[in-house]
């Protein structure tokens, strides 16, 4: 009986040590003052994927190849200084779990931007973007099974737009 209790206790500790993800950060900050939040669920992505020829009706960016591979979009845009420091700290905790890789960092005009990805071979399981400037902090997390090649193509085409 003692062994069973010990096993259950160990399982609870494991669950408690479960690392943060985009959803946890979204849930924590989405209701705060001065914070704009956007969440798109897996079901909504499925519905988006069913809209015929959507990339022809909306702008020039073709998101159709990756829409079906997305599980969630979490966006937090904060103009609340008190929230910004806390949010940044949570994002750092999330990406320092050891599984995320810093793929890009840029600093310009007082703004720091970091991009992290969690890869599984040729698939991006999580894409995290964080931009911090004076008085503003933006956190974007895309979860799914995104083919790396498609994501790179999309970013390249988006940059070529302008």
């Amino acid at each position: 009986m003692n062994h069973v209790i010990l096993t259950v206790a160990m399982l609870f500790f494991t669950a408690a040590a479960y690392s943060q993800d985009g959803k946890d950060i979204y849930m924590k900050y989405s209701g705060k003052e001065g914070v704009s939040a956007v969440y798109i669920s897996p079901s909504m992505f499925k519905m988006i994927g069913k809209i015929p020829d959507i990339h022809l009706t909306q702008g020039n960016m073709n998101l159709a190849p990756i829409v079906k591979s997305l599980d969630g979009l979490y966006l937090i845009d904060s103009g609340n200084s008190a929230v910004n420091a806390d949010l940044l700290s949570e994002v750092k905790k999330m990406v320092s779990s050891g599984k995320f890789e810093l793929v890009m960092q840029a600093k310009e005009d007082g703004e720091t931007m970091n991009i992290y990805t969690l890869d599984d071979g040729d698939t991006v399981r999580s894409f995290v973007f964080c931009a911090v400037s004076e008085g503003e902090c933006t956190f974007i997390c895309l979860d799914g099974n995104i083919p790396k090649a498609e994501l790179e193509k999309l970013m390249a085409s988006a940059m070529a737009e302008q």
Binding site: V8, L11, A15, V38, I54, Q58, L73, M104, A106
Partner: protein
């Protein structure tokens, strides 16, 4: 085992019966009690080992059920904590998704442009160095 015991173990039953009838063979006084207590001890041991195996099986099954219950509870709680969609309309959600990607690429552009510029400089330097080494 002593030699006599080994021989007795190999002897056929009729010969053993003949030995039993032979009055000259000395039988230890407490042989019967020894045999009975050995039988009783081995019976107790076999009961205990069955009990131990059953106890281990019970523990394993209980532990597995507890782990399964905790895992299921964890996933149910995780699912219950899902936020609500910001948009009701998939088209609006798509527009927001496109805006998000555009925003990310706008932020990435200065860094990517600098890398492109640097790679052009490196390429030019490589070409100049190539000419210098060719002329030597």
């Amino acid at each position: 085992m002593a030699k006599n015991e080994y021989d007795i173990a190999k002897m056929p039953l009729p010969e053993l019966e003949k030995m039993g009838d032979d009055a000259s063979v000395i039988v230890p006084a407490d042989l019967k009690e020894d045999i009975l207590s050995e039988i009783a001890a081995s019976e107790i041991l076999s009961e205990k080992s069955v009990e131990t195996v059953e106890r281990h099986h019970r523990r394993f099954v209980l532990g597995f059920c507890a782990a399964a219950a905790v895992t299921v509870l964890f996933f149910v709680m995780d699912d219950m904590g899902r936020p609500k969609d910001t948009f009701d309309d998939p088209l609006t959600a798509y527009v927001e998704l496109e805006r998000t990607f555009q925003y990310i690429s706008d932020k990435m552009r200065p860094g990517v442009e600098k890398v492109d510029e640097l790679s052009r400089v490196i390429e030019k330097s490589g070409a100049v160095l190539g000419k210098v080494t060719d002329n030597r």
